[in-house]
């Protein structure tokens, strides 16, 4: 076991040498690269990375350029997770046979995927990796839409969101189905560690990532990634939107250990909790909800978020 990188405060963290490069083609203000940087900088060990097809993949590997300073592979839309799981299985086999060329190095295996690649297309593959308990980490960059192909709805898209395949208008209020509870599903695989993170709470995030790297076995991370293009807000407000998502409890930050031990890691004070209405109002994709005919949806949103928060609190208390 290699030594964990010590990150006490942001100043100390800022001495990290980034292994993700600029001049990638992600939109200005994209949260994807903020998340990727926080993940990669959490360790000094070697990395074996994969990405499923999605914004992150198409923007960081535009031939003849690559933005990755570590070994990185892209195969298909669904199999970012299995590519890394295969590499991990090979590493383990060579290690048992004593055939590793640099046995003192402890590479970390990380796969990245968008919500489309994880919630929908690569779902079966990820489930397989989690079930086989490979020593790897899967990070979802959850922007709640297929942003790369023009904003089609995915199973992560929440109710009332206007996506290009569920457009809002006089008859429809947009997406009608609720967001899939991916964290619940992954935790139900009884994996050693699953956590929900947000890039604005960098300390919480880095702590969880390091915990994930230290864990032997499969780790699932769900990271909220506000999309300036599809959520329709100004690029400079990315961090503001992430703040709203975590403080309105639309995106609560918690971890699940061994499938049952749930800990809430960020609990905003009573007075700091933002009404969900404010979170919805900040985004163009929910603009139609503020018309009189759809206003009841905002109330439903608030009730849903409150119910989910109460559920998480009860689970934390009950330890089941």
């Amino acid at each position: 076991m290699s030594e964990m990188k010590k990150i006490k405060n942001l100043k100390e963290f800022s001495t990290s040498a980034d292994r993700f490069e600029g001049a990638n083609l992600l939109c200005p203000g994209c949260a994807h690269s903020i998340i990727v940087r926080e993940v990669l900088n959490a360790t000094n060990d070697d990395l074996v990375l994969a990405a499923s097809t999605g914004c992150l993949e198409v923007c960081t590997a535009v031939y003849p350029y690559t933005s990755w300073d570590a070994s990185w592979i892209h195969i298909g839309f669904e199999n970012g997770s299995t590519a890394v799981a295969g590499a991990e299985a090979m590493y383990k086999a060579l290690k048992t046979k004593g055939r590793l060329k640099q046995p003192d190095r402890n590479p970390k295996f990380v796969a990245f995927g968008g919500d489309g690649a994880s919630y929908d297309i690569g779902f079966q593959w990820i489930s397989g990796c989690m079930e086989r308990n490979h020593d790897m980490m899967y990070v979802v960059l959850d922007n709640e839409v297929y942003a790369n192909t023009g904003g089609q709805r995915s199973s992560s898209t929440p109710i009332g969101s206007s996506a290009t395949t569920t457009p809002a208008g006089s008859i429809s209020y947009g997406e009608t189905r609720n967001k899939k509870d991916m964290m619940g599903i992954m935790a139900a695989h009884n994996i050693p560690y699953a956590a929900q993170v947000a890039p604005n709470k960098w300390k919480d995030m880095v702590k969880k990532i390091q915990k994930g790297f230290a864990t032997e076995g499969a780790v699932f991370i769900n990271a909220v990634s506000p999309c300036t293009t599809e959520w329709k807000f100004d690029p400079k407000d990315t961090m503001h939107l992430t703040d709203l998502a975590t403080d309105s409890l639309v995106f609560p930050l918690y971890e699940v250990i061994d499938g049952h031990e749930l800990n809430i890691t960020y609990r905003p004070k009573e007075k700091d909790i933002v009404p969900v209405e404010e979170y919805l109002a900040a985004q163009g994709r929910f603009r139609h909800l503020f018309k009189d005919q759809y206003k009841y949806l905002i109330k439903e949103w608030q009730e849903r978020v409150d119910a989910n928060w109460a559920y998480l609190n009860r689970r934390e208390e009950a330890r089941v």
């Binding site: 100043k11 040498a17 490069e21 001049a23 070697d46 031939y63 300073d69 990315t238 961090m239």
Partner: protein, 131 residues
Amino acid sequence: MANTGWDEFEIGAMLRTFEGEAGNIAGTLQEDRKYTENSSFSASVADWRIEKPIFAKDYCIDCQFCWIYCPDISIISRDKKMIGIDMDHCKGCGICVEVCPTNPKSLLMFPELADEETEIAQWPAKEKKEK
């Protein structure tokens, strides 16, 4: 290399980011690395910008919020100090200005053609808090 057409791809291409042995990259700062022309570090997205951030060092408290929240690795921090902006990779999103906690802000957005020295000379004064 940069002008390779869409039908001239090398199938199963492997791009090498560094010349020769990579060594310990996590312990090597960007200026000490030997990038190849395949690394996007050698490319530039400066022409994406409409507005650019200008950094007034005098007000900076080195909190590093801009460093952690910059999506384009364009805030250069060395030895726990913020020392400048990488103008080749900055896309001008303005997140660094939004997260800057000082009063007045030590980073502000200006039109791409603004002159850095002139703008720093007429930097806005401290804002008084409304009571």
